[in-house]
């Protein structure tokens, strides 16, 4: 389905009441629709994820019949082209010309950071269910930027570090894409793992879009290690998992991955080589929780694929906003009240399967699953929970203020404790 079709469908479904009301006039009238500006990369390197983001939002709006907090919703979709300059341009258009009440979306951290910097000036509520950059809800927090149903990059790798210690692993090597998202996820694991007595033997950083992992795999094979942690997204993840298996390392050393490495968007195209990989996340599509199961089943029936992180997060993010709007009778025009309500809203009945709330910095506190990729009865692979860590915040067990005093994770600072 192309974007035009999307727009047609939404317009038809959502603007029944708003028919005849010009979009520029709707902002004044309380009775007009709630306008949501959705920014997603529909072209460029991460276009496939972007399409699933749109699906997630549409799927939710279809279920609530295009109505949130008692008012019709008008969804305006813009393509950020996986490029921060374009994202910024489109955000301006949605806010200044489209008069959107709020913005939601973006996938790549640099696009999200660019838009966040813009809404800092305008005060427009901006929701980021996918953007994981730690500092957006930590050192450079902006009050109207809220990570509903999203996660900060190091939030899940902290508990993974703890889990690795409990498995009795003493030595781990990490391999990661060389950019902030990778530095932050590896940092989370490295800090908790080394503070608990483990050792990070070596860290490999490779450029995005690495076609051939053999130089790294050769070195990994020679290290005396108990496990490998891989932080890979998209096509890199697919290639890494395939090559890790074909090098025979899969049988030799257990593979731990960041949640995006075993997301449906990656393992959907893989076979046996992805079975058994461990990853931490707030969502496991293979969980036996009835709400999660229902969501996964309906999504699959509608779109022909098991929901990925992108579809799921956007779905839950919009659900979160809806929950807040219900509380305040749809009065989205009162921005400050709206932001405060969202921050205080506890999301119940989401596909997460458990009530979730935000911490004081606008980042959700989750029960984090440690998941394992397993084969479903029909031969498809999905993530099944092995164990869970209750109430994990982005600060893990650290005191937020002390934690924020340490530098953000980067290639040079990984929080590694010197033995």
């Amino acid at each position: 389905m192309d974007r035009r079709q999307f727009l047609k469908n939404t317009t038809a479904a959502l603007t029944v009441a708003g028919a005849g009301v010009g979009p520029w006039r709707s902002a004044q009238a309380q009775a007009g629709p709630i306008k949501i500006g959705l920014l997603a990369p529909l072209t460029g390197v991460v276009a496939s994820g972007g399409k699933e983001m749109v699906e997630g939002v549409q799927f939710y709006l279809d279920r609530v019949k295009g109505e949130m907090g008692g008012r019709k919703v008008e969804l305006v979709i813009e393509d950020d082209a996986s490029n921060p300059d374009t994202a910024l341009q489109k955000a301006r258009r949605l806010v200044e010309q489209g008069n959107c009440h709020m913005l939601i979306g973006n996938l790549l951290a640099n696009t999200g950071l660019a838009v966040a910097n813009y809404v800092k000036g305008t005060g427009t509520p901006y929701f980021i269910p996918i953007i994981a950059a730690d500092d957006l809800t930590q050192r450079q927090r902006i009050k109207n930027v809220i990570r509903v149903a999203g996660y900060s990059a190091s939030e899940f790798t902290h508990p993974l570090g703890d889990w690795a210690l409990k498995q009795g692993y003493k030595k781990i090597a990490t391999i990661s894409q060389d950019y902030t998202f990778g530095h932050e996820q590896c940092g989370g694991l490295a800090q908790v793992f080394t503070e608990g007595g483990g050792e990070i033997v070596q860290q490999f950083w490779h450029p995005l879009n690495t076609a051939d992992f053999s130089p790294y795999l050769g070195q990994l094979a020679d290290l005396k290690i108990d496990a490998v942690f891989a932080m890979e997204t998209g096509a890199d993840a697919t290639r890494f998992i395939q090559q890790y298996s074909s090098f025979g390392l899969k049988a030799q050393t257990p593979l731990l991955a960041a949640m995006n490495g075993t997301d449906q968007s990656v393992i959907r195209t893989l076979g046996e080589e992805c079975e058994g990989i461990i990853s931490p996340a707030h969502f496991a599509e293979g969980s036996d929780n009835p709400v999660t199961q229902e969501f996964a089943k309906e999504y699959e029936a509608k779109y022909g694929k098991i929901p990925s992180l992108y579809g799921f997060s956007m779905y839950s993010g919009v659900m979160w906003i809806d929950a807040a709007l219900k509380k305040m009778g749809g009065k989205v025009e009162g921005r400050d009240a709206f932001i405060d309500t969202v921050l205080k809203t506890e999301l119940d009945g989401s596909p997460l399967g458990k009530a979730v709330k935000l911490d004081a910095y606008g980042n959700p506190i989750y029960d984090v699953y440690i998941r394992k990729v397993a084969k479903r009865a029909d031969g498809k692979f999905w993530n099944v929970p092995v164990t869970s860590y209750p109430n994990v915040s982005q600060f893990w067990k650290y005191d937020p203020e002390t934690y924020l005093k340490q530098p953000p994770y980067s290639r040079t600072f990984q929080g590694i404790k010197k033995a």
């Binding site: 910024l88 341009q89 258009r93 200044e96 660019a114 813009y118 980067s410 040079t412």
Partner: protein
């Protein structure tokens, strides 16, 4: 590589007076735009002016020295990076940061120029492309300073220019000054020498002109103007990331210049307006806007290979005769 399309009248006395009048009318009309357009459209108009300056700086080389550069996006972006860094990390006042950005761009252009001026044609294209890629690579990988993939953010724009309209007027004023300076530059004896080099390098050499030196100075001056555009862009976006120095940026500048008309100088603004308008209007209807853009270029190349302004000028001259 490029040839003059329209016959150009040079140095005729009455010409300057009429040109000045036309220029004044255009500037006044442009200054009135914020009264007519919505806030968002004023933002777009600002972007048109900024990219117009970039395209114009490329035209100095492409249209008047016969050297099409694919490295100007990088020169432009260096200035953007320096301005954002200077204001957010070094805490310099905006005016100083602006100057530093333009200076950095000029220095980078001088280095590019030293390496590139001995080549021409496709070799010049490839060499400037490669140099631009080096800048992009540095911005992407030197994370501690440039912020890597995520880039840098901050409040770069000075407080007095905070609204879209005031900033637009500031950019318009700079664009008018810069455009006039470029116009003077290409019509100066130095500019005529560049044209001579474009038309026949060997003849100019045998006449005793130092060809590489002229090209080097031409390149550096062109880089200076690209730097002005880049510094304005930093204040426009309050943000910079590697996509600002990427090849796509250089290509966009070149395309704007070609769409407006190579060697027309002011066509750059028309080209920038056409492309930015197309990008923003078409993308509201289809995610395949890049395809529409591509088809438009093909059509321009078939029906108006001399560019929009070039075509207009040619048609007008024909009618006058």
């Amino acid at each position: 590589m490029t040839t003059p399309v329209a016959p150009r009248v040079l140095g005729v006395a009455g010409m300057t007076g009429r040109a000045a009048l036309i220029a004044a009318i255009i500037v006044v009309a442009a200054a009135a735009l914020p009264l007519l357009l919505s806030n968002y459209q004023v933002g777009l108009a600002t972007e048109v002016l900024i990219f117009g300056i970039l395209a114009m700086s490329i035209d100095i080389l492409a249209g008047f020295a016969g050297r099409t550069s694919l490295g100007h996006g990088a020169i432009f972006g260096v200035s953007t990076y320096v301005v954002v860094y200077a204001t957010t990390h070094a805490g310099l006042p905006p005016a100083v940061a602006f100057a530093a950005g333009v200076l950095a761009a000029t220095v980078v252009a001088a280095i590019f120029g030293l390496l590139a001026v001995r080549t021409s044609g496709v070799y010049f294209l490839l060499l400037t492309l490669a140099l631009g890629m080096i800048v992009w690579g540095i911005c992407l990988r030197w994370t501690q300073v440039t912020g890597g993939e995520n880039g840098m953010r901050g409040d770069v724009r000075p407080a007095v220019l905070l609204t879209n309209s005031t900033f637009y007027w500031a950019v318009l004023a700079s664009a008018a000054v810069v455009a006039f300076a470029m116009w003077r530059f290409v019509r100066s004896p130095f500019g005529l020498t560049l044209r001579g080099i474009r038309d026949s390098e060997s003849r100019m050499r045998s006449l005793g002109y130092n060809v590489p030196l002229h090209l080097f100075i031409g390149f550096t001056v062109s880089g200076f103007f690209a730097g002005v555009a880049g510094a304005l862009y930093a204040m426009f976006n309050n943000f910079v990331s590697p996509s600002t120095v990427a090849l796509a940026q250089s290509v966009e500048g070149v395309l704007m210049m070609i769409a407006g008309g190579v060697g027309t100088l002011f066509g750059a603004f028309v080209g920038a307006a056409a492309i930015i308008a197309l990008e923003n209007v078409v993308s509201a209807y289809t995610e395949r806007w890049q395809m529409v853009l591509g088809i438009t270029f093909i059509l321009i190349m078939i029906f108006a290979p001399e560019g929009i302004i070039g075509k207009l000028r040619a048609t007008l001259t024909r009618k006058v005769r």
